[in-house]
Symmetry: C2
Subunit: 335 residues, 2 copies
């Protein structure tokens, strides 16, 4: 059995920089037509010059692959209309991090308040620049996303013309919020469709499945599955694939992030196939994002085949999800 | 400031065997007068011969320390009156593990059912041998202990004269169960008084704080603190100190267990002092256990002093809780 995906998109991707970028960028560029690139470098990407320079390094890193890096800025409260007008041609969104909430987010926003952010968000709304948010409070780890939902709802209400993407949602509360506000959208990762906290810490502790937001409860995973498998019009695939060198994962004080980029499409095909929903994968992994972002990707055909494939133990020094395990689908060809 | 503890007891301790036993047993034996020794060796301790041989290895391992290892058997459904009568002089309790629920528990009980276990539990009740239980279901990791409470309650009701110790409790539901059944008791670890899942997985992933049952929510920790700090008559200190070699903790697939034995008393003193409850520590760490187990320990005076102490990075190849950190109390002398 085969499935052809047209221009699959990864709407939330970490490519890092330097040697790591050169390791992982070609893997995403091989099977995706485009991806929204996260700006949480050190230092974060906060100027047009930094955006274009980073895009240049990505294009250099991917070699001959046909791949469109959709750049983003790291949100700052100081962004004004003049800056955003200048930046708009170079970016597809601005990513807002609560300060200190995840990897390299120290320069994020301390208080996410619709009044305090009014200048920047009004300008973004007027210029039709999507706002991408890592939505977690600084509360108890299992409650952080749920506690952030009122912030999403406040922003959605105060800025009804601003497209707000709830990034890598993990809870049933976030899924429910999609229905309450027309301008709320969401990305969903591969791993949050597959695991709960049980896979991270229910048996032995599994550092390679440790991520932020942390995987939640079975009923949360069910809620995510239901909107992803049905290709709900407001959800998009965003891998949040986040490479860390092996030593930073298998260590005392392991870094957060699951590396899924090279296996994402085959495992998604397997998941949708298992649930009899293969017909919806194209919409989940590309069409919804094209409509929500008003974006037309380069043409790319990815043929997936239902055929056993053993995931490599490592890509460079990065251990992927399912390392060394057999999965039921593979990439047959890309053109 | 100083505090003298008389014959402190650790009512739940893992000493393992072989080289590991020789590393960790002297550390417990130095500051505790006695400890309930867990029987989950490979193979588990299920015969009187194994009990006495293991006790011999412990006494050999501790050298000249004055320390009473209180031995336990690994529960088996086949234990009958004849066996238990023979075993009683050698043991202080029998530890029941649901099969596969934690380290070396593969030989545990598959279905914990008051009818199926009737023969053994009736005999234990008649012979006044306490039943010690690792109370977790095989459900979602954060729900496992809560889901086990009905099992505790059923056993407590069906065997009203059997002393049942809920080991290393971690939830407000277990704390509440103490009030509902006269014959339910509990041990509480040091680490569950100090951490929640936030410390394990809220920032970076911390393998040295990963344990079973996993640390729970803030309101659970509050419930534990309230009965421990007040030295509730039905709770006892049990460290569940569980040594693993460093490589088994800092790795892909980290083993469960926190190593606290050598720092337990100073950190308990610091905790009780911080809450203005130093006067209750003697009861929590010794008197309650003596009454519940009807046991008189050897005389041992441990003088603790409020004085900064830096915890060693390792004891042998085992990394303790607070490795390399400064704590506010230390052991001044033992006699």
């Amino acid at each position: 059995m085969q499935l052809t995906l047209n221009s699959p998109l990864d709407m939330h991707l970490h490519l890092r920089d330097g040697e790591m970028l050169r390791t992982v960028a070609p893997l995403s560029a091989h099977s995706f037509a485009a991806a929204i690139i996260m700006p949480n470098l050190v230092p974060p990407v906060t100027t047009v010059e930094a955006v274009t320079a980073y895009k240049g390094r990505i294009l250099e890193g991917i070699g001959n692959e046909k791949f469109d890096p959709l750049m983003t800025l790291f949100f700052q409260e100081s962004y004004d209309v003049a800056f955003l007008e200048k930046a708009k041609p170079y970016i597809h969104g601005i990513k807002l991090y609560p300060a200190g909430i995840t990897t390299n987010s120290e320069g994020g926003v301390s208080t996410i308040d619709s009044a305090a952010l009014n200048m920047t968000l009004t300008a973004m709304s007027d210029l039709e620049i999507p706002l991408l948010i890592h939505g977690e409070s600084n509360g108890f780890v299992m409650d952080r996303e749920k506690e952030f939902v009122p912030v999403y709802e406040d922003l959605a209400q105060k800025f009804p013309d601003l497209k707000i993407v709830m990034e890598h949602i993990t809870t049933k509360e976030s899924v429910a919020a999609l229905e309450h506000h027309e301008n709320l959208y969401a990305t969903i990762t591969l791993h949050h469709l597959l695991i709960t906290l049980d896979e991270v810490a229910g048996g032995m502790l599994q550092p390679h499945l440790f991520c932020k937001p942390i995987a939640k409860r079975p009923e949360d995973r069910e809620a995510l599955l239901s909107v992803a498998l049905s290709a709900h019009p407001k959800v998009m695939f965003g891998s949040d694939s986040a490479p860390h060198p092996q030593y930073a994962k298998e260590n005392c004080g392991c870094a957060a992030g699951v590396f899924t980029a090279p296996i994402a499409l085959p495992v998604l095909a397997q998941l949708f196939d298992t649930h009899g929903k293969l017909d919806n994968l194209q919409t989940f992994v590309s069409d919804n994002a094209q409509r929500i972002y008003n974006y037309t990707p380069p043409q790319k055909s990815v043929v997936l085949e239902k055929k056993a494939f053993t995931v490599p133990e490592k890509y460079g020094n990065v251990v992927p999800m399912y390392a060394g395990e057999e999965i039921g689908w593979c990439i047959q060809s890309v053109s």
